[in-house]
Symmetry: C2
Subunit: 158 residues, 2 copies
């Protein structure tokens, strides 16, 4: 533990989580993605701030875009490849990217290097936000009993 | 200019601004504060992300708190002193702090070192937000013709 007192903290004081809501086969793509939820740890509710460590070969997420959530990423260490509709570009420490809500240019990071990369990701929290995945056969459905992942023809992932 | 293409960018591609709405004598306290508005440059509207360079002796802002704005800061280089109601603590690169909207524990950074410090600051954008300054004789007023700075007895700063 660091000696910092709230409202300050050191990321090492915050647990690392590896959870994902993706079903297989997508889950494997983010297996080496670990997040420290810094904003939550500080009691913030209007946006999230995560310190993410992305291992070699891992993706930040499936390539996606949000209807209502603004997103921003800032690379701290290592190298990540940003994939968007326009193609690929490599981001080094100090580079950043922003994805306005409603922009249909889907995006994600892939770590194609042999070392971990770290970055900050910030996302607004707005009720009713939806995420779409143009490259993959997955969508989120809700029948009134909670959200679940489905194929794009409606069959539930099991 | 970097070779990055939107939605990515390098902070060096974004102009550095030194503006402040503070009147004197407060303006002098933030004279060595320069911001690159990364979130705006990416077209984000739900929150702001600024890369701030704070020169020796400078403050990030008057010590303040917000009614509706969540704030988060992440130190990238150098050292800053975080001042809150509980006192002072020094934050080094990798340390962060979060200030939930409505928490009356006013905060700011002071650079007491002899080198510049850099940090990211993120703030939600919510209409109707107010900021208060417990240590200083300043408040914001609006008579219907725009916001202006006043002493706490109501006299306008000129």
């Amino acid at each position: 533990m660091s000696e910092l007192k709230r409202p300050a903290l050191h990321p090492n004081d915050v647990p690392e989580v590896r959870s994902t809501g993706y079903p297989e086969p997508f889950r494997a793509r983010v297996r080496e993605r670990a997040k420290r939820r810094l904003g939550d740890a500080c009691g913030l509710t209007r946006f999230g701030v995560n310190l993410v460590t992305l291992g070699p070969g891992s993706q930040s997420a499936l390539r996606h875009w949000h209807t209502l959530e603004d997103e921003f990423v800032y690379v701290l260490s290592g190298q990540v490849v940003l994939v968007t509709d326009a193609g690929e570009q490599t981001l080094s420490p100090g580079a950043c990217a922003g994805y306005p809500a409603g922009s249909r240019d889907a995006h994600h990071f892939v770590n194609r290097s042999d070392k971990p990369a770290t970055y900050l990701e910030i996302g607004s929290r707005i009720e009713g936000d939806l995420a779409f995945y143009p490259d993959d056969d997955i969508m989120w459905c809700n029948d009134g009993n909670g959200e679940y992942a489905a194929h794009k023809d409606g069959r539930r992932y099991t």
